[in-house]
Symmetry: C2
Subunit: 378 residues, 2 copies
């Protein structure tokens, strides 16, 4: 296999954009990534699109506005892991030598409110119709097992909103006080409104290339050391992951995917300088920190207590503001994380720059247990 | 790149199955392909699912019923080319050495009636809301340019229904007389109801493997010599391919995709023993025969006149009965073609067996111009 490099990233801001066409949102992200890379559109050899809500053949519609070049276009739908899945395929294409330059892109214009499950699923039948319900079970379980407190849940959100206030692509872009978060509407105990990420709109794109091709466009080589997609090893898989994550002996998919990504990259959690992970809610950041091996089981809240996950800390988590500040346009989410890591590794992250960042990890986890993890290195 | 082999194929019959769950339809196809291959499910290393109508994460739902093994699962939506796109990715996975055994599968439970376009597309705004309208324009154009007649359109359908009557997986499974077809309801002039394929339900799955892995399961090696996916080089691409196909100098995507597939396989149209192509309507079989290089431009109807495309002819086209007899469950369609070619190359096609078949081609073409072509060889 050949080494693969990220040579361009582009975002359409995450937020709400009125009547703006979702295809245009995607197009702007793609064009931004192409401009960032310096690659001419005609030289992109294959394209992988991740989206859940943009309708049939949405990737083709976006790329038709960039220009018809005949390249193969694959439209993927892998829930929250859609963008990560697109990146995995672009990575494979280049790593294997099928092509030299590939594009992964994703975009979304999501309905407002929380996503309801399929009413035919037993989960929904039992009254667990929307995500915050099982997010809350996860949180309560972690609190019961490891002493995580409501104070921790508030402070994750304070941190991520503080970071996101520095990110021009984030939806909220404002500092939220401890009191605002702690007093926001209770959604599912213990999770309050400002401890939950918002489904929203946005786009992201990433151009990857072989070493030889990359060197034609840049001298700042950022290696995409690994991208891994996994499905779960246990559970019912027709319903989302539930509160057993920190309890059962069978490893969670975040653990199996990240272990595979570390192994493929030859990089361990101790080598990481920053992490962008799936903080769909405040408790998720704590739980996934453990499952990604950033700390031991039950020690996620301690990372927060120690200040390790702050931008100035030992291992910054979600310096972009995470999903809590950016919102989560499903297809764009993972690729937005990759853009953040690339900017951090290039030293282009402005006021939220992590000093001396050389290795970063991204993580998304989706419904039915698809999980994508990537590791980047400069 | 490594050679790739098809070691198992499986179908769920194409047709209408009442309240039967689409996930169960998919599961039965996957299990049939696994049984045909002899591969244990735990040894499949990656899975690519093509479906348009089965809803979010449908591939994960199907495979959860087969067993949770943690493998990466990609859900693809590429319109009529969805199954061909899944096969392309499984092929790449094995050819590149990312894995030794991969699964491509697709399934569908489509709404009745013809598919209406997006009302925001100018095509629909202009009154071109459903497929048979532009199929009919293609047909009329070919008739005007090359002397193709309504008699030819009837006879394509007679041939394919005669073949499909011999196929236990086909929807209609019955011979249709010349008169029945010629007198069936006019849908869009010149295309009558029995000259159009029916959207329906069904499933198909294909197991591919490296040479080394394949030899553990079978001595009858059928090589998947190439799989190519292309998007169009001209047109508006937000609307389907229209009647200009046989006129403009820019090549159609069926031509560019098939030329790439021939080149990658080292096999030309003159080497083919049978073809399964996208006969969404009778005229399409004639037009695509030309675009696949089976004959010169404008000579498609002559192939029919010469009897070349009959099962006993020089180059049988759609010996399975094609979409006209089988119907078109989008995600399953291309993989159903591959199953037919594999059975033909193995000599397992029963009453519709093409004698001494050694090389076959499959072709699907989808909305917005995605086209997938594969070539198989024993």
């Amino acid at each position: 296999m050949r080494d693969v490099y990220v040579i361009g990233v582009g975002l359409h801001p995450f937020g709400r954009f009125g009547d703006k066409d979702v295809i245009e949102i995607g197009r702007e992200a793609v064009v931004a990534a192409l401009e960032d890379s310096g690659v001419a559109w005609k030289d992109v050899e294959s394209a992988y699109c991740g989206t859940v809500f943009a309708g049939p053949m949405a990737g083709n519609k976006v790329l038709a506005r960039v220009g018809l070049t005949g390249l193969p276009i694959m439209n993927l739908e892998n829930a929250c892991a859609s963008g990560g899945s697109a990146l995995r395929l672009a990575f494979q294409d280049v790593a294997s030598g099928f092509c030299d330059i590939a594009l992964a892109f994703g975009f979304e214009k999501m309905p407002r409110g929380f996503i309801a499950g399929n009413p035919n699923d037993w989960f929904a039948t039992m009254g667990m119709a929307v995500n915050p319900q099982y997010f809350a079970l996860n949180a309560r379980r972690h609190m019961a097992d490891y002493g995580t407190t409501e104070d921790h849940l508030v402070r994750v959100s304070v941190k991520n909103h503080r970071n996101g206030a520095l990110n021009p692509y984030a939806m909220y872009r404002k500092v939220m006080s401890y009191e605002e978060i702690a007093n926001s509407t209770m959604v599912n105990d213990p999770l309050r409104l400002l401890m939950l990420c918002a489904p929203n709109e946005g786009g992201a794109a990433v151009v990857v290339a072989s070493r030889e091709a990359a060197k034609r466009y840049t001298t700042r080589l950022i290696r995409l050391a690994s991208v891994v997609l996994k499905s779960p090893l246990y559970g019912t898989a027709e319903v989302p992951y539930i509160a057993v994550s920190s309890q059962v002996e069978a490893p969670s998919v975040t653990r199996t995917a990240s272990e595979a990504a570390y192994e493929a990259a030859g990089i361990g959690p101790g080598d990481l300088d920053l992490v962008e992970l799936q903080d769909t809610d405040s408790a998720a950041e704590i739980i996934y920190s453990e499952e990604l091996g950033l700390c031991g089981r039950g020690e996620g809240a301690r990372l927060l207590d120690d200040g390790a996950t702050e931008i100035g800390g030992r291992l910054p988590v979600n310096p972009s503001g995470g999903l809590l500040s950016k919102g989560e346009p499903l297809g764009a989410s993972a690729l937005g994380q990759v853009a953040e890591v690339v900017w951090q590794l290039r030293g282009e992250a402005g006021a939220r720059q992590v000093s001396d960042a050389r290795v970063g990890l991204t993580h998304v986890y989706g419904a039915l247990g698809n999980c994508a993890v990537s590791i980047l290195q400069c």
